[in-house]
């Protein structure tokens, strides 16, 4: 039996002395099935748990004093930065080790990390300084290389008495200003080349105008390049000297690098351990943020799948003496606590959860629509895009995508979905007898769409009607479960709506086939009755439930709105049904589009062009029509069907786990 229900949840409340908190939370993280229920004042006071707790503990647990647990937050950011700093220097990736040694002391870890950091950091600082000095020297080289050929002794330039020199760079804008105002400047300006940093200039100015020159250069944002003091000889000698200095620095730098990576190599396993432990600690701290506590006890609650509840409870009670674990079913507790939704579907269908979640997460009381959506979507897509060859292309793309994508990511699910709809398309391809648009290669098992247009269109509507009827069923079931009997019986998506729809269909069918099961007037009377129950649902329901009907915005507004609602109901039921005609239309369109390309191929002059047109046609059909059909299928699901029976206002079950799926490698 296929199960459409959502995984049952239990609320688990844990009370224990505050000393046990860390250890218990750690256990919960490792177990990885606990969905945190945020602490609010109301879920602690006068609940079953608290009564039990007070009875069980002699200690007069002062429930009044219970409040959100306050604690000093750990600066994980700092720790992680240090870790990645160390890991960075040996090019290692930080990853969490699943197999964690749980006997650790977090304070010791922090101390150890800090001491490791204090060994590495100064060396890295020194290396950075060296790097900087190398960059500076390279910068200098770059800017004087244009003078390489000049046979000038640098120290001669430096020692000039009446003339001062400047080497440096200017930006584009300031070059323009210098050029435009050159005649007012008492200096010789030589352009000696260009570098990353702008244009390089060598400037000579009379020593007695030094101050003015400096001011002018400053106002031009001139970036001066210092000639290192230890440099003598002509430019090419100088360059060589600086080059050898750079080489020397590079050599020392590499030595340091070796030293650092040697040290860190020792740390490698320790780093992974520390990282894993910090990771665990982070998760624990996240849980702590939702803990409530009195002076001596802490209180924590969350949701756990029914299947895991018993073993979790046993494990905890076995390990800790003074712990109270109370389980409650959702029905037993305050309605304001809504259990999270965990969908359980087999591997064939589960990728379609992505499409469901895109619309909304089913709430805890709803039927899980994934199976229905999955199966119908496969059929819808296949019927609209039935082709053996093109379907296999989707299969291959989907396969590659799911292979490449990481587990737990959306891309993976998209790959899986593509793979499945590709298969469906292939199956329908056999039914239609079409391979890459060619209808001569294989026989059609069922029908060739273009040769049986009416059949295709009628069966599309027929299929749609079946889907709508199933949706009605699911809607009635959901409404009944939710306890909304008024909507369930008299609502447009309830029994009344269904009766109206069936009567409408029967009448239509009767007229179409010229048959006579019941007189037309009978159907019309049924329809009128059904519609009036829609309109008078409030008063009718108040009669059944023996409660006074409540009109939120007054009686007249209710009936005016109700009247419009009726018209909308009739129209939307008709349009919902007719809407499914698009399945047939797209099946036809698929063939028609190919027909256009194959006609072009036929009238082409050379066989080469014909083949090219056919290939191009297939690519366009796969890309463009494939996309359209994907969307149209989704539209039918979301708009015609989901709107009938699916609310999607639930929240996802996200347990706190040591390693999240997306983090797994």
């Amino acid at each position: 039996m296929v199960n459409l229900a959502i995984e049952k949840m239990k609320m688990m409340n844990i009370v224990s002395p505050i000393e046990n908190m860390h250890s218990i939370l750690e256990d919960l993280v490792i177990m990885g099935c606990f969905h945190i229920q945020n602490y609010t004042k109301s879920n602690s006071s006068d609940t079953l748990t608290m009564q039990l707790v007070s009875e069980a503990m002699d200690d007069s647990l002062d429930i009044g004093s219970i409040q959100k647990f306050k604690f000093e937050k750990t600066d994980f950011k700092d720790l992680l930065e240090k870790l990645s700093f160390i890991a960075d220097s040996i090019d290692m990736e930080l990853e969490v080790d699943n197999d964690i040694d749980r006997e650790y002391n977090f304070e010791k870890i922090v101390t150890r990390l800090n001491s490791m950091y204090s060994v590495i950091a100064p060396i890295r600082k020194k290396m950075e300084d060296m790097r900087k000095s190398i960059t500076e020297k390279e910068y200098f080289l770059e800017n004087i290389r244009f003078l390489d050929t000049a046979d000038v002794d640098i120290s001669d330039i430096k020692n000039m008495k009446y003339i001062n020199y400047h080497i440096g760079t200017l930006t584009k804008e300031n070059r323009i200003k210098l050029r435009d105002n050159y005649e007012n400047i008492s200096a010789v300006v030589l352009h000696i080349g260009s570098s990353n940093d702008g244009e390089s200039y060598l400037i000579f100015s009379p020593a007695k105008y030094e101050e003015e020159t400096n001011k002018i250069l400053k106002s031009l944002n001139f970036k001066e390049i210092e000639i290192p003091s230890d440099i003598k000889g002509n430019v090419s000698e100088t360059s060589n000297m600086v080059r050898s200095q750079i080489a020397e620095l590079e050599r020392i730098y590499l030595e340091y690098k070796d030293v650092v990576s040697n040290i860190n190599e020792h740390y490698r396993s320790e780093i992974i351990r520390i990282y894993s432990e910090i990771h665990l600690e982070q998760k624990i701290e996240h849980m702590k943020e939702n803990v409530a506590a009195t002076k001596n006890f802490f209180y924590f609650s969350g949701w756990i799948p029914e299947g895991d509840a018993e073993s979790t409870k046993n494990n905890l009670e076995k390990k800790y003496e003074d712990i109270i674990v109370v389980e409650e079913k959702p029905e037993e507790i305050n309605k304001e606590f809504i259990p999270p939704t965990k969908l359980k579907n087999n591997w064939v269908i589960s990728p379609f959860e992505l499409l469901v979640n895109m619309y909304g997460v089913p709430n805890y009381n709803e039927l899980d629509p994934t199976l229905f959506l999955g199966v119908t979507y496969l059929i819808l897509f296949g019927a609209m895009f039935g082709d053996v060859g093109q379907g296999l292309v989707f299969v291959i793309i989907g396969f590659l995508l799911k292979r490449r994508a990481k587990k737990g990511t959306d891309a993976k699910d998209y790959g899986e979905i593509l793979f499945r709809i590709g298969l469906s398309s292939t199956v329908f391809g056999f039914m239609y007898g079409s391979v890459f648009g060619n209808e001569e290669l294989i026989h059609a098992i069922v029908v060739r769409p273009l040769e049986n247009i009416n059949f295709v269109l009628y069966s599309a509507i027929g299929f749609g009607v079946v889907l709508l009827l199933i949706s009605f069923g699911m809607s009635i079931y959901n409404l009944a479960r939710e306890g909304d009997m008024e909507e369930c019986i008299f609502g447009r998506n309830g029994v009344s709506g269904l009766i109206f729809y069936v009567a409408l269909l029967s009448l239509g069918l009767q007229m179409l086939l010229n048959a006579q099961l019941l007189p037309n007037s009978v159907f019309i009377i049924i329809m009128i009755l059904a519609l009036s129950s829609l309109l008078f649902k409030k008063p009718l329901y108040s009669v059944i439930s023996k409660k006074e009907a409540e009109y939120e915005e007054g009686k007249s507004t209710y009936y005016i709105e109700g009247g419009f609602d009726l018209i909308e109901t009739i129209l939307s039921l008709l349009s919902n049904s007719i809407s499914f005609i698009r399945i047939g239309a797209f099946a036809l369109n698929h063939v028609g589009l190919f027909l256009a390309f194959s006609t072009m191929a036929k009238i082409a002059n050379s066989p080469f062009i014909s083949v090219a047109i056919l290939v191009l046609g297939n690519i366009i059909i796969i890309g463009l029509e494939g996309l359209i059909v994907l969307i149209q299928g989704l539209r039918l699901e979301y708009y015609e069907l989901f709107s009938k029976y699916f609310k999607g206002d639930g929240k996802t079950y996200i347990p706190v786990k040591f390693i999240e799926e997306a983090e797994e490698f």
Binding site: K177, N181, E212, K215, I216, K218
Partner: protein, 344 residues
């Protein structure tokens, strides 16, 4: 997408926000107050500033906090409006946030040059972390100019600091400031390139005017207050003005009667200036700018002009409020003459 549909949502929003700008009655009331506390209370309880003031007690608010809150309101509103823009216009509008960032960078520079502690600085910051083009967290961890400059490498601001020294910070505050302004204008112009043609033309004419006005003000102040060589004055001017090309600037600076030419140039813009009493200079420049943008808005319905107009409206409004505050503090007479928005 046509401009009409592009701007319909934005312009509707602006229209609604326009109604909440201070009007002449508000101005009248504010000017008649005699204490800062009264102004604070009025703004807090009767105007759209109530939200930004909500965290502050008017009794305890400090002077600088008061001004900061007023300026922050402007950024909040720009942020609000940016939601109604497409990618390129949003990108352009984001440069506005750069102004706040530049102001805050100037604060850091000032603190560094005075060797002050940087710890207390962040509370004076106007900019929003979200729009940072350079990490302030890192800037604040530096305690000397050299390290600070290192931090700007690779950011848009790098160029402003390529030649800066400690001495510049003390003796030539304008050095860093003019360079930062030049980067700001360049960034504005760059981002405006991606706007639609019509928007681009409007925006660039306003930027060009702004540059002209900044340059002419710079020349005036340099002549009047700083002892600079002509070459320096020339070199610090910004490129890209509408009317003041490099050549015209040069002709002006190197002429014998540069001051009278400067004043004449301003006069052509309708900016009257008396060198012996130039406290109205900024206001008249602002007034001219506002008038120019107002006309641009009227001539170009359904364009970005409306947004630019609104931004200037709120900016000048905040300046006016601060002026009123100062006037009360220093007991200045003739306040209306110091306000950009002219209701009288």
């Amino acid at each position: 997408m046509g401009n009409a549909s592009k701007y319909s949502a934005l312009n509707t929003k602006i229209q609604a926000m326009n109604a909440k700008l201070l009007n002449s009655r508000d101005y009248e009331i504010l000017m008649n107050f005699t204490t800062e506390r009264e102004i604070g209370n009025y703004l807090k309880h009767n105007t759209r500033y109530s939200e930004v003031f909500s965290e502050y007690s008017i009794e305890k608010i400090k002077r600088w906090e008061f001004e900061l809150v007023i300026k922050k309101q402007m950024l909040i509103e720009i942020e609000k409006l940016s939601k109604y823009l497409d990618y390129d216009s949003k990108d352009f509008l984001n440069v506005m946030f750069m102004r706040a960032e530049v102001e805050d960078i100037k604060l850091i520079l000032r603190a560094i040059s005075r060797k002050e502690n940087l710890e207390d600085l962040p509370q004076h910051f106007l900019h929003n972390e979200k729009h940072e083009l350079v990490s302030f967290e890192k800037l604040l961890s530096k305690n000397n100019l050299l390290d600070l400059v290192e931090e700007f490498k690779g950011s848009v601001y790098e160029e402003a600091f390529r030649s800066i020294t400690e001495e510049d910070l003390k003796l030539r505050e304008f050095h860093a400031e003019m360079n930062l302004d030049s980067i700001y204008f360049r960034e504005l112009r760059k981002k405006s390139e991606n706007l639609s043609n019509q928007d681009k033309n409007i925006v660039q004419s306003i930027i060009g005017l702004n540059i002209d006005l900044t340059n002419i003000q710079w020349i005036y102040r340099a002549l009047r207050y700083y002892d600079l060589m002509n070459e320096e004055i020339f070199n610090y001017t910004l490129l890209g003005g509408n009317k003041l090309t490099l050549k015209r600037i040069k002709d002006m600076i190197y002429s014998d009667d540069v001051m009278s030419k400067t004043i004449l140039f301003m006069k052509n813009y309708g900016i009257e200036i008396d060198p012996n009493d130039d406290k109205y200079l900024q206001v008249s420049i602002n007034r001219y700018l506002l008038k120019f943008i107002d006309n641009a808005n009227k001539d170009n319905p359904m364009t970005i002009a409306r947004l630019i107009k609104y931004i200037h409206d709120i900016e000048f409004e905040s300046m006016d409020i601060i002026t009123i505050l100062e006037s009360i503090r220093y007991k200045t007479q003739d306040i209306p003459k110091l306000l950009t928005k002219r209701w009288w």
